[in-house]
Amino acid sequence: MRRAVLLEFRKMRRLRTLPIVLVMVVAVAALSSASLFAGSTQTTFEDPAAHPWAGLLLSYTLMAAMTSPILAAVLASRQTDIEHAGTGWTLASIAGFTPGTLCRAKLAALSGILLAAVLIQTLLVVGAGMLAGIRVPLDAGPWIGYTLLLFLVDVALVALHIWLAATVENQLISVGVGMLGAFLAVFTLLAPGAAFWIAPWGAYALISHVAQTAGEVGYVTPPYPWIIGLLALVGITFTLATRRFNRLER
């Protein structure tokens, strides 16, 4: 498996994976921090009761929900499409790497990139908050919790998109589903009651550590059992689906 993962990194050359991730990370960080520079926001920077970090986390949550499904779809689609175009499934099979192994290796490789991307993204947003002048101490717990869950949900989405991209050769479908997913993810943030029903994109709303009630932004505890259940379900589905790929005759 280690060898298969290293091969995926070799295949990433010229796929522009890193530039795409970098652009998305900077864009999310920039859009999330845009409100920091509004005059009305800056008045709350020294008031702990106004929860300026929670406001920034809410903005980050919204931007991440808007962009992460598209990023997951694009990364998974590009990394999987090369196997269709280059007869890679057969090449790997006759070298002893099953299609299922290939899919799992792709997930592992992309997960490594996503981990770095989500961490940098969060650090950029926090850094922007500090640069803008938030004097209230950072509420590290919700930020760390959200970053970790955002990474896990991104990995789950990439897994589903790898499965989709491997199953349907036309990658417009995979990317199209990702764009629809972005819309649904934002929708569930605005209508939280729907989040459970629009899985897996509803997960971007479920992992939110902040909520706005009557104009006030405050921290909330996400429904961990639901999130763990959803992630476990995706994990089991991906494992079974990739095992099934090994039995498929192309």
Partner: protein, 299 residues
């Protein structure tokens, strides 16, 4: 001569369609085995089964004398180079980078990679992106990928597909050279002409069934050429009730063996029909092939 590949009753059925039907294949060691058949006759499906890419519905496969199972496949694959359906290659990578991926998959040395590239004369193009390769270069890269592991058996599915005559000749020469080095080469094609000039043994598939397997000479013997009887009076010959086609200068009779020929000649002589000459019509290999496959789309 011992067999590198043997199948017994090999069958593959997709729902109601039988792609390969009770195939008894025998590929001897160290030869170029030409696997011929019209498009859709089951060549690729057979080759996929030989490589363990597709599971047979029925039948047995032995490779290097060992039954092909999921366990033995892992042991056998390093000795089998193959190219199935389309030449592999990631278009966004160079030829050398593609070969590096194959080398990493199979734990090959850079020496093996360089030698494989040199064998297919791709060394000077190895740093070009594969998407910029011509079809012939892609085919050669696919063969290099198959050769890099120093295989004892090479299974190539239509390696000359889409190539110009010079490219076909180049691949043909290469395969004959490889067989000369002791590598058993099984190569499929729907074009008789491509295979005829390099194959030592032919296997002809039609509608999933093996209709002939043997040498080129065996193939000629397999088909009875038409009989041409030269006579100035073909009408008189036909009046005797002999099933024949009138041609310029005589009649032409199909499917007659030696005894039937003697009987026809005797009847003509008894009836006083003048006979100037009795001979078999020279057949090309293609004619024999067409007869066997029923003109099922072969070129």
């Amino acid at each position: 001569m011992s067999a590198v590949i043997t199948t017994r009753g090999l069958t593959k059925t997709f729902k109601s369609h039988t792609a390969v039907d009770s195939l008894d294949l025998r590929v001897p060691q160290g030869v170029v085995y030409g696997f011929l058949g019209p498009n859709g006759s089951g060549k690729s499906t057979t080759m996929k089964m030989l490589l363990g890419l597709t599971r047979p519905t029925r039948g047995e496969i032995e490779v290097f004398g060992e039954p092909l199972t999921p366990q033995s496949r892992t042991r056998l694959l390093p000795s089998i180079g193959s190219m199935i359906e389309a030449p592999p290659g990631y278009g966004h990578l160079t030829g050398a980078e593609n070969m590096r991926i194959v080398a990493d998959m199979l734990d090959l040395s850079s020496h093996q990679v360089d030698r494989a590239l040199a064998t297919v004369r791709l060394t000077e193009h190895k740093d070009k992106l594969v998407r910029n390769y011509s079809l012939g270069m892609k085919q050669r890269l696919g063969i290099a990928m198959a050769l890099a592991r120093d295989p004892s058996l090479l299974i190539l599915d239509e390696p000359t597909n889409g190539l110009d005559p010079a490219g076909i000749e180049e691949i043909r020469t290469l395969l004959v050279q490889l067989a000369g080095q002791g590598i058993t080469v099984m190569v499929s094609s729907h074009l008789l002409d491509e295979i005829d000039k390099m194959a030592d043994v032919l296997g002809i598939l039609s509608a999933g069934r093996m209709i002939f397997q043997g040498t080129r000479d065996d193939l000629f013997q397999h088909s009875i050429p038409d009989l041409l009887i030269e006579t100035p009076d073909p009408a008189a010959a036909l009046a005797l009730g002999i099933t024949a086609t009138p041609v310029t200068g005589g009649i032409r009779i199909s499917g007659t063996d030696k005894d039937q020929t003697a009987e026809i000649v005797r009847r003509l002589a008894v009836a006083g029909v003048p006979i100037h000459e009795v001979r078999r019509i020279q057949q090309s290999l293609e004619d024999v092939f067409m007869d066997l496959t029923g003109r099922g789309g072969l070129l």
